[in-house]
């Protein structure tokens, strides 16, 4: 029942796919580049949605929904935007099918203007806001959308890069540049908060270089994470769009002093890609590791018995332990639902997260241990006849790796919450330490070229600010400027690195205002 997982050191990419497969997170679908997000993977997304949505609303945003389809002509209205997306759009050209005479079907009913399946919604939302906004009293508009988007990618990878993905896209409109900038930064902070305090993924907040900006933005901010193979991953972006889209779509308003002006807009998004980041940050050769705040299953109770006469007593004891965590009422309600099913799932708290009791007859206990371990369940309680006799239980935690005999009386929600909090904290601290160990200052381009091969990670280098230097480095090393960090100092393997001290670009020899972070990236 346990699925083999390729070790990270042997084949990192295969390890990633094996972890996803063993955990039942996702599958490729018959449509090239599209994935099926399986229940365990989708439950992680629901956890992430819950945490993000609460923060969006707590910062004054509301949700709305805009059309999946965008008229082809809209895309052309913002010059840089169309450049960025025209080559990777799914285009709808027909509105029906008819028999092709060979037993199959063919498209029928060509439509007048082709429709684009949204790769992102700045254009259709820009058009809509032009109707919504008349006066400064209609501002700010603070709207978020949960949606699917499509970008025709040639090289896809589950969660990290898929043709269709799920995301949220915030789209706001403001009276002034200052307000738009504040919004852009506010949402960057929300993303960093969720990445670090929910997903336990440490991130650098920073600005993108002009070459790496979103197509149509004046400024793109991002959070950048470090994966276990030393590659960086852009985990979220927040764009100050200036007046680019408001001019393209004529979003005008009457100002407080009775003039007419274009609004200032922002957009910001994170996607199911974050689940890829989550997997690559914490998981190990035994499978998925999940921070408790987004783990769909928080604990699995596995009964152990050899003979049939042990079974009833062990199961009763296992249920008693389950009830100690979730309450007897909740157990009774779950039993009524599960009926004949072999895994009893009981909600813990109000988040939809669950504690399960694994009653499957067809599996041996060690296979059950592997099963829950590979799915990233933080806590496992193993309950056998000896435990019953001692009124104890073997408590196994995924983070830290520990096995301890605990008395039944000690199994309380407080004990459980403590174990979960410890795992959450330890995962973040471990990832912070790992990232620092993969981060170095570098002032010599030749040294950088070999270092990026031998010790992949973040390299804090001086940069002259030109796209020529940036392009040369990318061309020669495949490393890109991940961000110009907002922080003055970041931790590296050899101690703190000052980012804002001026210096010299090691490639061009020109002066530099400060260091930026280079890495190879997903």
């Amino acid at each position: 029942m346990a699925t083999n997982i390729t070790p990270r050191t042997k084949d990192y990419n295969q390890w990633y796919l094996d972890v996803i497969n063993a955990a039942g997170m996702a599958d490729y679908s018959p449509v090239r580049g599209c994935m099926v997000i399986k229940p365990h993977g989708y439950a992680v997304w629901e956890g992430l949605q819950r945490e993000l949505d609460a923060r969006f609303k707590a910062t004054g945003h509301v949700n709305a929904y805009f059309p999946l389809f965008i008229p082809m002509s809209f895309l052309a209205k913002e010059a840089k935007h169309v450049e960025g997306f025209a080559m990777e759009c799914a285009v709808v050209t027909h509105s029906g099918l008819e028999p092709d005479g060979k037993g199959g079907l063919k498209p029928k009913g060509e439509i007048e203007e082709p429709l684009i399946v949204r790769p992102t919604s700045e254009t259709i939302i820009g058009h809509t806001y032009a109707q919504w906004v008349q006066s400064w009293r209609d501002l700010p508009i603070l709207v978020n959308q949960w949606a699917n988007v499509v970008r025709w990618e040639m090289r896809t990878r589950l969660f990290l890069r898929t043709m269709e993905f799920l995301w949220q896209e915030g789209h706001t409109a403001h009276e002034t540049w200052e307000e738009a900038e504040a919004e852009t930064r506010r949402m960057l902070d929300v993303y960093a908060d969720v990445a670090e305090n929910v997903l336990a993924i440490p991130v650098h907040r920073g600005r993108k270089s002009p070459a790496e900006r979103f197509a149509g933005a004046d400024d793109t901010y991002c959070i950048e994470a470090m994966m276990q193979d030393g590659k960086a991953l852009q985990a979220g972006t927040s764009h100050n769009l200036g007046q680019n889209f408001s001019k393209a779509f004529d979003i005008k308003f009457q100002t407080r002093d009775q003039k007419v002006a274009h609004v200032w807009t922002t957009s910001w998004g994170v996607s199911t890609r974050l689940i890829g980041a989550l997997i690559m940050t914490h998981s190990d050769d035994d499978g998925l590791v999940l921070p408790p705040k987004v783990a769909p299953v928080l604990a699995a109770i596995v009964p152990i018995y050899r003979k049939d006469d042990e079974k009833a007593a062990v199961l009763a004891y296992a249920k008693e332990l389950l009830a100690r965590l979730v309450g007897a009422d909740a157990v009774a309600r779950a039993e009524a639902v599960c009926g004949g099913r072999e895994i009893l799932e009981v909600p813990y708290g109000s988040t939809g997260q669950r504690v399960v009791l694994d009653l499957r007859d067809g599996l041996r206990p060690p296979d059950k241990f592997f099963h829950w371990e590979q799915r990233g369940v933080p806590v496992r309680l193993e309950v056998g006849p000896k435990d019953l006799a001692n009124r104890a239980v073997m408590a196994v935690t995924r983070t830290p790796r520990s096995k301890n005999v605990v008395s039944a009386d000690a199994i309380t929600p407080a004990w459980f919450d403590d174990a979960l909090a410890t795992a959450q904290k330890m995962l973040f601290e471990r990832a912070v330490a790992f990232r620092a160990a993969q981060t170095r200052a570098c002032d010599d381009y030749a040294a950088f070229k070999s270092a990026i091969e031998e010790k992949p990670g973040f390299y804090a280098m001086h940069w002259d600010g030109t796209k020529e230097t940036e392009a040369k480095i990318k061309e020669e090393t495949k490393a890109t400027i991940r961000c110009i960090p907002l922080a003055d100092v970041i931790d590296g393997a050899d101690g703190p690195i000052s980012m804002k001290t001026p210096g010299t670009d090691p490639v061009s020899g020109k002066p530099s205002e400060g260091r930026v972070l280079f890495a190879r990236a997903y």
Copy 2:
């Protein structure tokens, strides 16, 4: 500021659009037939999602996500299914755009096999389940998906019929026909529960006639509601798909007795159409009326003052009343978020529903009254200098229509919850009474033909069970069989109507096993 609403009696269809517009629920978009769901409309959908999702999970279902695109060849695999959907599919044929040489764009990069934008997901999910299921131990699969779907409709109407709509689609697989049938009925009951106890829309649960079945189902169950214009509306469907899709997609499993069999599947769905039903069931000539369980704004507090020296005291008093409902801490948190904005929104409870304090300077109080009334807010508190002097408040409820002076001390969460519960109950009872008044038994076809014109509603008539009779009635009267009700007796204008007593079909003169419900429908 108040928007004019056409009275129902003058033009029902225009009334419906006016209510949506005045409430800020939705707009047509530049893409024909696609709508923009505005924040107030989307918040109703979020309420509905919250209530449905909790019930899906409480009945053992989990969420997952399947691709938006379906290979064209999949649709052809189930003969009736392709018949039902081939003529209304959006078809993707290209993967990019290029300049057309005239300053615009044109599709580029024809793809090998066209992709269908899902009109529903039985085919892609059937294909997936064939990979997931090997043994009876893998069953049942109880999965739901929240998604957008596209059906190329020629005649669209906001919420009721749009080219793209949001919905949930449950897809389950079982060992036996009996289990699949039980699941189909269980989810029908969940839908009826949400319709009646959340949306306050009374529904008849029943089976569809073969002619009205879902394309590919063995049996379709539905909930049918009655709108204020006497037209019926199908509010949700639950299908027993038998082995039609498991045979088309080869979903096989090893049975408990070591044989190989095809699984039995079901599917069930409700959509944003329910919001149309909600509007048409409860709203009036003053605008939207919402049952409190899905009202995004539960109460609006409107301060009234003429002179500037009254303003500070009235606002302080209004905030005191707000705090009495939601707690002073919540008010303080909301003030920190809203910053300079003119409507202070404070969460009430944990559902995301809110109480608002309308601080807008640019609007007169009567305009604010209209504003919140048109948006279906159940309770309004009007607070002026006289109220302040008397430590009282004018409490206005939308259902029942009432205005009462209430002492400030009486404004408590208990008082508020009671007002909301009263409105919820009264809306349902009113709709139940209205439906009964629009429901009649009829045993004479000539009488039916004129009655359906003059007194639109449900007509309980005998039916011989043939598609010929059904088609004749549809052709001649535009009325269809809405359902074969599960209930033995339903209430009509002239008392209870026995549905299961045999009789004679008034059209064919052939024997009938019982009455069925005819109506014209949306």
